[in-house]
Symmetry: C2
Subunit: 341 residues, 2 copies
Amino acid sequence: MRIILVGYGVVGKSVTTVLARKYAEKVKDYGFNPKVVAIADIDGAVINQRGFSPEKLETIRQRGYPISADPEFGRPRMSALEVIETVEAEVVVEVTPVNIKNAEPALSHITTAFKTGKHVVTTNKGPLALAMPALTELAAYNNVYFRFSGTVGGGTPILEFAKRCLAGDRILAIRGILNGTTNYILTEMSQNHVTFQEALTNAQKLGYAEAEPSMDIDGFDAACKVVILANWIMNKKITLKDVERTGVRDVSLQALEEAAKRGSTIKLIGSIDGDKPTVKPTEIAKTNPLCVSGVLNAVTFFTEYAGEQTVIGKGAGGMETASAVLRDLLDIRHKLATKPT
Amino acid sequence: MRIILVGYGVVGKSVTTVLARKYAEKVKDYGFNPKVVAIADIDGAVINQRGFSPEKLETIRQRGYPISADPEFGRPRMSALEVIETVEAEVVVEVTPVNIKNAEPALSHITTAFKTGKHVVTTNKGPLALAMPALTELAAYNNVYFRFSGTVGGGTPILEFAKRCLAGDRILAIRGILNGTTNYILTEMSQNHVTFQEALTNAQKLGYAEAEPSMDIDGFDAACKVVILANWIMNKKITLKDVERTGVRDVSLQALEEAAKRGSTIKLIGSIDGDKPTVKPTEIAKTNPLCVSGVLNAVTFFTEYAGEQTVIGKGAGGMETASAVLRDLLDIRHKLATKPT
């Protein structure tokens, strides 16, 4: 399986590390033979149509930016789009930064991959949040697979749990803590009695929150994940604008303390049950399995037969998210191997 | 898919209810067409080689014992073994009561099914606890599928989560609350400050514990599940005798109160990490996602890349466990449809 990697930040680097480590093992386990044939970043690319060795991937990673300076395989200024269009490969792994204004450049990368007959694995929420119904249709039209398990829950296989493990049941509703940054902030406020601003500053110091934290604290990130869950699991054709969204800026210490007196706390909950998907601060009981602390994510699926089922795990992290990419690659490999012809 | 149902207690009845309800829906969703062709119970059987209609299954359920009194299809005194040997079917669903002394009659039912070329779905922990390595080998030798997702977590797909969702990762260790009855007892003791004996009596009144409660409170049930997880997920060839087991009889109110002062509590934890699988009362922090209350079950998988991942859900219940049977039947259907020939 020849892979074009587009994006070379924390997740992209972790993907090459995981693939390099897993080369030998996975060939043994699943007959899976991944080869990175190109890496494209904002300032150029490296291409080796025969596939980079694990050692070469490590050399590229250690040298750092710009990757296109590689004397042997570097292609300075070659755009990711050109790489996707011209390099022979089965799969494009798209891990560029999220943009929820117009989803670019990821949206063009993904649609170009589809149009040139390449399967896509992405961890990028932008294109899904803005155009998921259209993208899944375009993938089907071009007869390619589109996988994105790293977009929800990082390495925690929340989408797979719902889609595969609950296949014999019916999911009636979904509720979840879908953003680790805001969960960290609310946990800090509640446990250490600091203000929202203090908790945010602390989160920024620890690298949990961005300098421009709006994506997290205004609930956009959680809303993107609600869109993905609603489309993929609940079969609703919605995009980001359909989610009713309230962030955590206005959660007061007083409200948290009053909730505590009732044995509860306040969490930023994404919810899909009735007609209107929502993201908003919500009081929940501390004994609720959903009520996890720190940067953890948690999702509860309400099912027809098996009751409430909750999955908890880390929602972010380079290696964690890279493990989701590997899972998606294995899934595509498995689908291709068992596809009726 | 023709099904022989062996055992007609709470789970058996729920299986016919779930299948009857799902007939129409599942044909549509998965090309899955289940037909119950026989039900065998301790005092006889009903057989209809053309398959019982949903209405007839409901009539049989409402009439109750003995099912073999059915004027049209009843076979008084016909044994389950004879049914398995003589009735044409693809799958045997084995849901008779658990016996961890010698695993009978379930063990004979399952091995006979294998030898006559029938796939097996079971919710019965006995045969797995005593002979899992031998049974999985026998199934492979006879080229049939053997599925048992209802044995761990009831309707909560704990085995599938580990096997499928974490396929791209490596599971290093497993820890879990695997028995709802003891979790209820410990929760009652801890929250309502009642003694072990009072909590047990209460659990018996509510139907959470048996009149003879040893299976639960001495940790046998949890140890059976440890055996199944160790074999199926961690590839260890062990049986019940290999599990170091301590029940909850000696957990004192005082120990629980002292743990509470440290922000912890005591749970009956099944654990697979080093060489010796164990079940024993263990102190864990209340903020640990594993620390669930009441009759809930919870399992944490420690993975190489994606960190700690926890699945929480109800561990028992007729309809819940029947949903696991349905999941296994769909899995076998899917495997048969995509099997390389």
